[in-house]
């Protein structure tokens, strides 16, 4: 099952690469719908009572080095996988209606990106995880460099160097973990379950934790490691940026929960306060920057930094509530960010600019667009009643137990979120229309993508418990690993 889920995008995108250009878009969309269907089927079939892995695939890959091809899903990754499939479907559909130049190349890269991301969520072998973590970046390099705007080549190289610096350190750290953890004369194994059974001494855990932590914090990105963000967010094509911001950042947060907590528990406790401070700083920095920017891409980008800060807080509160909230919030944020960027793309088409000062009045003749954007905005600012509210509530609840002072500071972040989200809504949708721009309703093509996504946001507001219930057992297991 998981093999199909993982390799279907590759099969489709390679097939697309040799098809006639006109077929590229539709075939990609159908392929991604297939992946989505499969992911949903897995979610329905999933047994939420078990903390361990389900649908496990376990094959030998590089026997000499002890690397296995090991896939599995547990309650933490389940909805992230579904979300990945859903959001990629949305972006495939969006892009195929807009028929990019050199479409086969575009869809090939997008499909490979899905493969890499899906692989990172499914991998249960530490090295396989690291490999997918690196792999998912490569297509983004091509997508931003070839299809972006402005100074795209410099931006994409900068992003690659920044993020790969982190992940290469992670590669050494992963290898060191497996070699040092191997019992004397025993076989080296990268399986996360084995590594969890043979924990490293604390001294080694510490430096390895730093390498992993750096990689994940860069990828999120988190203040002060967000140097690549501004250029990449300015240059990236919007559907690609939606995935970059919505899904790739989650892989990093997920990495903390999947890899760092269970395998380096002593170091996690050791560095807990440091990470909490960094996360809080990210919330404050991201929020402040988000309401001083006028470029809508950057507003969304900085707000991502803040949101990822919340997720990190939840994970490193090291309480079950905080981590439950973090898992929920990972899905929430991804589902909210993608429509945000798609609305930004629509606004760009209306106004020909990314700058708030050149926008306004978009709602005039477009009530549906305005309503959808309003729902997205409300979810972004974690309005009570939205699933984001539940997520942030859980996170802060968990954090109050472990670090009350930071929880109080972080609460300020929620207030600031209201400020920048509403500011963006107002300045784009209300006010006067700029000269030369017209307010138009979303066409059916955009509606096909946006309406289901907004529908998911609403559905999640009604049933946030589904994600928490599914995740609970696995989260307990990971938090328990640290507590021992």
């Amino acid at each position: 099952m998981l093999n199909v889920l993982l390799w279907l995008p590759v099969a489709v995108c390679v097939a697309v690469a040799v098809m006639p250009k006109r077929a590229a878009g539709p075939v990609s969309v159908i392929g991604s719908l297939g992946t989505l269907g499969l992911a949903i089927a897995l979610a329905i079939d999933f047994d939420s009572g078990i903390p361990g892995l389900q649908y496990v695939v376990d094959e030998s890959w590089i026997a000499e080095l002890g690397v296995r091809y090991q896939l599995g899903i547990d309650g933490i990754s389940l909805f992230l996988v579904v979300m990945t499939a859903l959001l990629w479907t949305a972006c495939f559909t969006w892009a195929s209606f807009r028929s990019p130049e050199r479409p086969r190349n575009f869809f090939l890269m997008l499909g490979l990106a899905q493969f890499g991301t899906m692989g990172a969520f499914l991998a249960q072998d530490l090295l396989l995880f690291v490999a997918f973590f690196d792999l998912m970046l490569i297509p983004f390099f091509f997508l931003i460099g070839s299809y972006g705007t402005g100074d795209r080549v410099r931006a994409t190289i900068k992003m690659m160097v920044y993020t790969l610096v982190g992940s290469l350190l992670m590669l050494v750290a992963a290898i060191a973990t497996a070699v040092l953890a191997a019992p004397d004369g025993g076989e080296i194994s990268f399986a996360m379950a084995d590594l969890r059974a043979n924990l490293l001494p604390e001294g080694s855990q510490d430096w390895i934790f730093c390498f992993f932590g750096a990689a994940f914090l860069v990828k999120m990105p988190s203040f002060p490691l967000h140097g690549w963000l501004v250029d990449a967010y300015r240059a990236a094509p919007l559907p690609v940026l939606a995935l970059l911001s919505g899904v790739l950042s989650k892989v990093a947060a997920y990495g903390f929960l999947r890899v760092v907590l269970p395998i380096y528990p002593d170091a996690t406790v050791q560095f807990q306060d440091l990470i909490l401070v960094i996360a809080t700083a990210s919330i404050l920095y991201g929020s402040v920057m988000a309401f001083t920017q006028t470029n809508v891409r950057l507003i969304a980008g900085y707000s991502s930094i803040a949101q990822l800060g919340f997720i990190t807080l939840g994970i490193f509160s090291l309480t079950p509530d905080g981590a439950d909230g973090a898992v929920l919030q990972m899905v929430n944020h991804a589902i909210v960010v993608v429509p945000t960027f798609l609305v930004i793309a629509i606004l760009y088409e209306r106004f020909g600019t990314d700058d708030l000062r050149g926008m306004g009045g978009a709602a005039k003749r477009a009530p549906v667009l305005a309503a959808m954007f309003l729902i997205v905005t409300m979810a972004t600012l974690a309005m009570p009643g939205s699933a984001n509210f539940i997520g942030e509530f859980y996170i802060l609840n968990g954090l109050f137990d472990s670090n009350t002072a930071l929880a109080v500071v972080a609460t300020a972040g929620i207030a600031m979120a209201a400020f920048y989200a509403l500011r963006m809504f107002q300045l784009t949708m209300h006010n006067r229309l700029p000269v030369g721009a017209e307010s138009r309703e979303v066409g059916w093509r955009d509606g096909v993508v946006l309406i289901p996504l907004v529908g998911v946001i609403i559905a999640m507001a009604f049933f946030p418990g589904v994600i928490i219930e599914h995740g609970e057992a696995s989260v307990q297991d990971k938090i328990g690993a640290v507590a021992e």
Binding site: A63, L65, R152, V153, L164, L169, I175, A176
Partner: protein, 516 residues
């Protein structure tokens, strides 16, 4: 005292014999006038395939030949096979190169291929050497034809310069090596690797003769492998030499020289591993740093790959520093992967050199993604592989080396590898960006870039030039086919590495057996 002729095991010697016979045949066939290119190429191909087949036949053997001068084991055979593979790749790559503007009229094929085969023969001997004399003879047999080949583009000043430079620096390297070997003989009283092992005692520092000898030998080998700080010749020679020769030199020389490096250090100097390990580790780290930093600012692709080769040699040296079975396996896995990636890259450069007027300047590949996907993809895959990104054989190779270094308690060297890799991203990605993200460069090529034809520095004439330019269209389909095959191999072994891992695992076992 009666002379006792040694028993000769012809089966074990057969790859060397096949190459020698092929060498003679190629030189003779080269005397044919018409249809020379086809005849010479076919003869060389047959000879290489025969040698490769015989090597594969000898796989699994582990025996001494010619009174212990050579040793047939998988370590040597794998290095030989890599060298042969590169030489086969170079046959179509050099078709036009020698026939037209770079060789004197219709005379070149037999000599070119003959020299190439002599060099391969030297590599085979070097890879199997387990005696100081054969070590040196093999190294010279490898090097001298390459000096000539580097200068074989007779009408290009850069090529002549490259040949001369390589000759002088190479001779210096050889002299250093020979001096070192003499010291080792003096210190240990033996020329056999096993004898040296028995003669040197347990610490290098005990005997200044041996210590000096080992240092000089390492320096001499480092010259050949272009390991910093003995690398200064590399960028100039790589850039100046005809591109097919550069391609061959970059990979095959490394394979053979690393084979003897591994055998010499791990067999002959095995007991003193603690003494030479730190020194080689330092060399590796310096090479990784110097190569990667040097490549950053290059605009000539061949120079860029030259510097990248210095860094890659540093990575590979880590396999020897690790001094364990997995290290040797890592070294040879990396060599094999390196062969695929480099061949693909150099083939694309060769084709574009002929199609555009930019020589090997990075402008030659701008906009390739749009115009020539069949060339753009192999080049992209080669660059991703050299950068060690996952999904390519280069990643598995780095993984192997990292695991070897950590297992040998040289984690800091592993960190050096990844720091080098980080730096390298900047220039490998620049090449990819040029292919996919920049428009084709349309301005008139500047005349000084590479292809200026000089009247006749050595042995040419206007008549010969006219004749030469008429010969041979570009035999691109074959080259493109091979290039794509190399790129596919890079990806294939990145996803399913087991076949290649099984292939190289014998090399590690060979060392263990030799020590056993």
């Amino acid at each position: 005292m009666s002379f006792q002729a040694p028993d000769i095991d012809y089966a074990g010697l057969s790859p060397v014999i096949a190459l020698t016979a092929g060498l003679v045949a190629v030189l003779l066939v080269g005397l044919i006038g018409r249809g020379q290119r086809v005849a010479v190429s076919a003869t060389s191909l047959v000879a290489y395939l025969a040698a490769a087949g015989l090597s594969i036949w000898q796989f699994g053997e582990n025996k001494e030949l010619v009174a212990g001068a050579l040793r047939v084991d998988e370590l040597g055979l794998i290095a030989t096979l890599i060298a042969i593979g590169c030489a086969i790749f170079v046959i179509p790559l050099s078709w036009r190169e020698e026939a037209s503007d770079d060789a004197p009229g219709p005379g070149g094929h037999g000599e070119f291929q003959g020299l190439l085969m002599a060099s391969v023969l030297g590599m085979a001997m070097l890879a199997m050497a387990q005696n100081l004399v054969i070590f040196f003879v093999g190294l010279e047999l490898l090097s001298i034809p390459l000096y000539v080949l580097c200068g074989s583009a007779l009408r290009r000043r850069a090529s002549l310069e490259s040949g001369l430079k390589y000759l002088i620096i190479g001779a210096l390297g050889s002299a250093t090596l020979l001096y070192g070997l003499a010291f080792i003989y003096g210190g240990s009283g033996s020329t056999d690797f096993d004898g040296i092992r028995a003669g040197i005692g347990s610490g290098l520092a005990d005997d200044p003769l041996v210590l000096i000898g080992v240092a000089l030998t390492a320096a001499g080998l480092a010259f050949k492998l272009s390991i910093a700080p003995f690398h200064q010749w590399t960028p100039d020679v790589y850039q100046g030499a005809p591109t097919p020769v550069t391609a061959f030199m970059a990979v095959a020389t490394k394979a053979a020289a690393f084979a003897v490096f591994a055998r010499f250090f791990e067999v002959a100097l095995g007991p003193t591993v603690g003494d030479w390990q730190p020194a080689l580790a330092a060399l590796a780290a310096v090479s990784i740093l110097v190569g990667n930093v040097g490549a950053l600012t290059q605009s000539s692709l061949k120079r860029l790959l030259g510097y990248s080769g210095i860094a890659q040699a540093g990575y590979m040296l880590v396999g020897i520093v690790a001094a364990n079975e997995i290290g040797i396996q890592a070294l040879f896995f990396y060599l094999a992967a390196y062969a695929f990636m480099n061949m693909a890259a150099f083939a694309v450069i060769t084709i574009r050199e002929r199609e555009t007027g930019f020589g090997d300047d990075i402008r030659q590949i701008q906009g390739l993604g749009r115009e020539r996907p069949a060339l753009a993809w192999p080049m992209t895959i080669a660059m991703l592989g050299l950068a060690g990104l996952p999904g390519t054989a280069g990643f598995i190779g780095k993984l192997y080396l990292l695991e070897a270094s950590v297992a040998a308690d040289y984690t800091w060297l592993g960190v050096a590898i990844v720091i080098g890799t980080m730096i390298s991203l900047a220039y490998y990605l620049r090449v990819i960006a040029a292919i996919w993200m920049r428009p084709a460069y349309l301005a008139d090529p500047t005349p000084e870039s590479g292809h200026r034809v000089l009247p006749a520095i050595a042995g040419g004439s206007p008549e010969a030039d006219a004749l030469a330019s008429g010969i041979g269209g570009v035999r691109c389909p074959v080259i493109i086919g091979l290039t794509i095959a190399a790129a596919i191999a890079t990806i294939f072994f990145g996803i399913i590495p087991s076949p290649l891992v099984d292939f190289v695992s014998g090399a590690g076992e060979a060392i263990t057996t030799a020590l056993g």
